[in-house]
């Protein structure tokens, strides 16, 4: 509690700045618009906006990106409810009941439930984040460089396991990201993998990697795969909304409170696990809600719990992902990786020392999340109808604008056209990788975590006089490294089990058909 009381004054003072409030307000508005664009998730949105961090201070940029991140998660429910096209994977479950409600003339009610759930999820998980983050941050202060190295390896093992359908391809992506992070000056006078190219001496800029791998494949997908996509007109979008049926009554709020609490818990817990992300949080909350319900058969028929559960969880994930990101420098998702990137680019070193050295900054982030959720509520209440229009932007028309933003953003890094070419090449590689299920998010995560891991292992070895045994055979590092190995093996076994299950299902499906045939 000392941490809280020592820093709360400074944090509230920082948050009372009009500039900061305007920046958070702008972040929320931009985030809802980007979230409402069909298929546009938090990583892509944050990657596109990354160049804006160049002109912001560290407080401003982290709160702006947190505002965008939180608002995108809420905004993505708008197209899910109105046009059955989730703005991101996290809102895919919302389609089941949200769209059905909209078709039944309850679009406004579904949107309101989604908004309240988002705000409640964000606020509750912030409270959990304050407790979990500070406790973990202080516990992690006991860790030395070898422990932090082991935690970094563990983070990479989880990241490689969770992203994509095949863990081996996830691990391959992680390796590519780590190797890319070693390009350029070593910091000890030498250069690595530059091949006498002067533009590689400073390494590949973080912004280039973020924009290329997180926004680039999306731009190519919109331009190439959706070049002729025509969305059918949807009656639910224009459904006549009767205000009487669309009111959120006190009885409904009371009914939804347990759903909100359970969803907040699941969302925050999933957010804390690196790699799991908002999609898993939303899916888990929905299935758990169905399990707890007295009428599970009603899920999917347009019931408020079916909207509230996934929406409260996918917004709770945001604060959850900040726990490992800020305390251990392990980003739990693409969005968190960008937040980590923002911090690193501003010279702030995430990790346990952050809580000791930058207490006011950490508290400003905590308190800022409450303000951001308040903005989401206010802007959501008054602007949902306006943001709904964005949901109707055809995918094929969206592509050129996204590509233009990517080009402008890459050029903004030092006014250098070579960066546009780098983003183009890496973005095209990312697009091709995604086609064959090599996930690109682990590349970015490993690229960001690589230097932190290298710094810790080098420091640990220097302290121990180069003795590998002293670094790796200490109790905590060896336990964490064994856990990393267990994660690696477990992910492969899970994939094999999932494969057998799919094959068995396919076999069952083919059986009767074959008999009939």
């Amino acid at each position: 509690m000392d941490f809280f009381f020592n820093n709360i004054g400074g944090a509230l003072g920082a948050l009372s700045s009009v500039n900061l409030l305007l920046i958070m307000c702008a972040g929320v508005s931009i985030g809802i618009v980007l979230g409402a664009l069909p298929g546009f998730g938090s990583s892509q949105s944050l990657a596109l906006l990354f160049p804006l961090s160049f002109v912001m201070t560290v407080d401003q940029s982290i709160l702006f990106f947190l505002a965008v991140y939180s608002a995108v998660e809420y905004g993505s429910s708008i197209p899910a409810i109105l046009i059955r096209t989730p703005g991101s994977g996290a809102s895919a479950v919302t389609v089941l009941d949200g769209y059905t409600m909209a078709r039944n003339g309850l679009a406004k009610k579904a949107l309101r439930i989604s908004l309240y759930s988002a705000v409640i999820g964000g606020t509750t998980s912030t409270l959990i984040f304050i407790i979990a983050g500070t406790s973990l941050g202080h516990a992690a202060l006991l860790f030395g460089p070898s422990e932090l190295f082991a935690i970094g390896v563990f983070g990479l093992a989880i990241v490689g396991s969770f992203f994509g359908k095949d863990p081996l391809r996830g691990f391959l992506a992680t390796g590519i990201g780590l190797a890319m992070a070693t390009i350029g000056s070593s910091g000890f006078g030498g250069v690595r993998f530059t091949f006498d190219q002067s533009f590689l001496i400073d390494g590949i800029p973080l912004v280039v990697v973020i924009i290329a791998f997180l926004a680039g494949p999306e731009a190519f997908r919109l331009l190439v795969d959706n070049r002729r996509t025509v969305e059918p007109p949807d009656k639910a979008f224009d459904a006549t909304i009767s205000d009487q049926n669309n009111k959120i009554l006190g009885s409904l709020v009371r009914k939804l409170i347990p759903t909100w609490l359970r969803g907040s818990f699941f969302g925050t817990a999933v957010g804390i696990i690196p790699g799991a992300g908002a999609s898993v949080g939303a899916l888990l909350a929905y299935s758990e809600e169905k399990r707890w319900s007295k009428h599970p058969e009603k899920f999917g028929t347009g019931i408020p719990e079916g909207v509230a559960a996934p929406e409260v969880a996918n917004n709770a994930v945001v604060a959850g992902t900040l726990v490992p990101t800020l305390t251990l420098a392990i980003p739990g998702s693409g969005g968190a990786a960008i937040l980590l990137g923002v911090l690193v680019s501003k010279g702030v070193v995430p990790g346990p020392n952050l809580f000791r050295d930058e207490g006011t900054f950490v508290m400003t982030v905590f308190m800022g999340l409450f303000v951001i959720n308040a903005f989401i509520l206010i802007i959501g209440l008054f602007g949902t109808r306006l943001f709904s229009i964005v949901a109707r932007v055809p995918l094929r028309v969206l592509g050129p604008f996204v590509m233009l933003l990517i080009i402008a953003g890459s050029y903004a890094i030092g006014n250098y056209t070579a960066h546009i070419v780098m983003v183009l090449v890496l973005g095209a590689i990312g697009y091709c990788f995604e086609k064959i299920d090599i996930p690109v998010v682990p590349i970015v995560l490993a690229f960001i975590m690589g230097p932190i891991i290298e710094k810790n292992i080098s420091r640990a070895l220097t302290i121990s006089g180069g003795s590998l045994e002293e670094v790796f055979l200490r109790p905590i590092p060896i336990i964490i490294l064994l856990l990393s190995l267990a994660t690696f093996i477990y992910s492969l076994l899970t994939m094999l089990r999932a494969r057998k299950f799919t094959e068995a299902e396919a076999g069952e499906g083919e059986g009767p058909a074959a008999t009939q045939g």
Partner: protein, 179 residues
């Protein structure tokens, strides 16, 4: 759900997924084998205890080589287990569109400094937007719509990047500072 009215064309390249994954992994393996060799040309450690410039790159590249080898071995020896659950058997890419977009971005990057942000962006957006609007509308309508959307976009980008962020965009006629 969005309806894709695309028809298969000769510009669509369809490849079997597993061989594509294996060929890609082989290329990554070869590239990383070369990088591993390169680590031996890196500077030797100068500080006592410091593992040297090559230590971490060798760790990262070696790890990637092992994973790539595992993917290749699995694909060759146990092809049944190589595909991820639910993975489609084929992948397709509209290669002409893909290359056109890539070429267009390269041309944009080349023309940006000499021609200026305004005209380059106008040309870039019209080339991309007009055919996309033409899927549903006539040519004239599509051009008008594309221009009507591009001009405000240029002004917004100019406002954000040149005026707000102070980025040195190569401008042709728009003023750098508005007093």
């Amino acid at each position: 759900m969005p309806e894709n009215n695309r028809t298969p064309s000769s510009f669509e390249l369809t490849l079997p997924t597993l061989p594509t994954v294996l060929i890609t992994t082989s290329m990554i393996f070869l590239a990383f084998a070369f990088l591993f060799y390169e680590t031996f040309n890196m500077m030797k450690p100068i500080l006592p205890g410091y593992p040297g410039d090559a230590f971490f790159p060798r760790l990262a590249v070696g790890y990637t080589l092992i994973i790539a080898a595992l993917i290749l071995l699995r694909g060759i020896l146990l092809p049944r287990f190589a595909a991820a659950p639910g993975e489609p058997s084929h992948v397709s890419v509209h290669w002409l569109e893909f290359l056109s977009v890539a070429a267009l971005v390269l041309v944009y990057a080349e023309l940006l400094p000499p021609v200026g942000f305004e005209l380059t962006t106008l040309g870039f957006m019209l080339i991309l937007l007009v055919p996309r609007f033409a899927v549903q509308h006539g040519l004239v309508h599509s051009v008008v719509k594309a221009v009507a959307l591009t001009i405000p976009t240029i002004i917004i980008l100019y406002g954000v990047f040149a005026l707000l962020l102070g980025i040195h965009l190569p401008l042709l006629f728009l003023p750098r500072y508005i007093l």
